[in-house]
Symmetry: C2
Subunit: 131 residues, 2 copies
DNA sequence: TGCAAAATAGTAATGATTCCTATTTTTGAA
DNA sequence: TTCAAAAATAGGAATCATTACTATTTTGCA
């Protein structure tokens, strides 16, 4: 099943590259539709899954019941604000080391890792101060 | 909304304590039903959510589309085998340190962390060797 | 250019989880 | 112990993110 080019997939990927807020499939759909009005939601889902399966993007699950997508496939962590639902990047330099340690401890083969921190983001902290 | 005792919740929690394989709500339901035949699936979901919200159990999302639950709330990581779907525990000693580093880097308040490794477990590696 | 493989749009189906409501259980106080 | 308010339950309906289906269109190689 060789992958063939499609304008829709290109637009989905391009859109994802412009965003650092880890949009959901529905957000991708609503945005791409502005430029390409009759793209279908199914196409968005199918292509996000295809891109994720091929390792070109990341699928994130942060616990809000919806999958998020990230065009940045470099090793990094995420932070989920349980107050506003924002998903942000976090760079931590110990990830390589952590993966190595895990591989040592495991009898299986470890291929990837995902870390998410939970709490309240700066903006939401400030807002709760104001009250 | 004070929490009142219920036999159903007690059985759900007791069952979860006996298991180290991080069962899903449906697995909890099917097992608890053996001893308490007319418990309802909604009750299982409601209580798992209540227990998780109160921090007495953990809700895990490993990417298979279903939530898993863990009665072990101590700091540890998980490993998800993408071949058989098993979820196992992994002890890594760098978690405290990692949380501290993350808190340093973040302007927000970090409350918890979740790490999952992905790959193929020992059993599945062995099976694929046999062929 | 012609054609098989792949992709799409649009819609229906799935399935985990949540919601709803009448009834039952729990628990603190009289 | 009895009573009543608050909380919980069973059972079923509803939700909603995601996937599956199918007729049609697009892609890309020979």
């Amino acid at each position: 099943m060789a992958v063939k080019y499609s304008r829709q997939r290109q637009m989905i990927y391009n859109f994802l590259m412009t965003r650092k807020d880890h949009p959901t499939a529905d957000v991708v759909y609503r945005n791409v539709r502005q430029e390409y009005p009759n793209i279908s939601l199914g196409t968005v889902y199918r292509n996000l899954t295809l891109l994720a399966d091929r390792g070109e993007i990341l699928r994130l699950q942060v616990g809000d019941g919806v999958d998020h997508f990230d065009a940045d496939t470099s090793k990094h962590c995420h932070f989920f604000c349980s107050s506003c639902g924002a998903v942000t990047d976090m760079q931590l330099d110990c990830l390589e080391e952590m993966l190595a340690k895990a591989q040592q401890k495991s009898q299986g083969r470890i291929e990837s890792q995902s870390t998410c921190f939970y709490g309240t983001c700066e903006k939401c902290l400030d807002k709760s101060m104001e009250k």
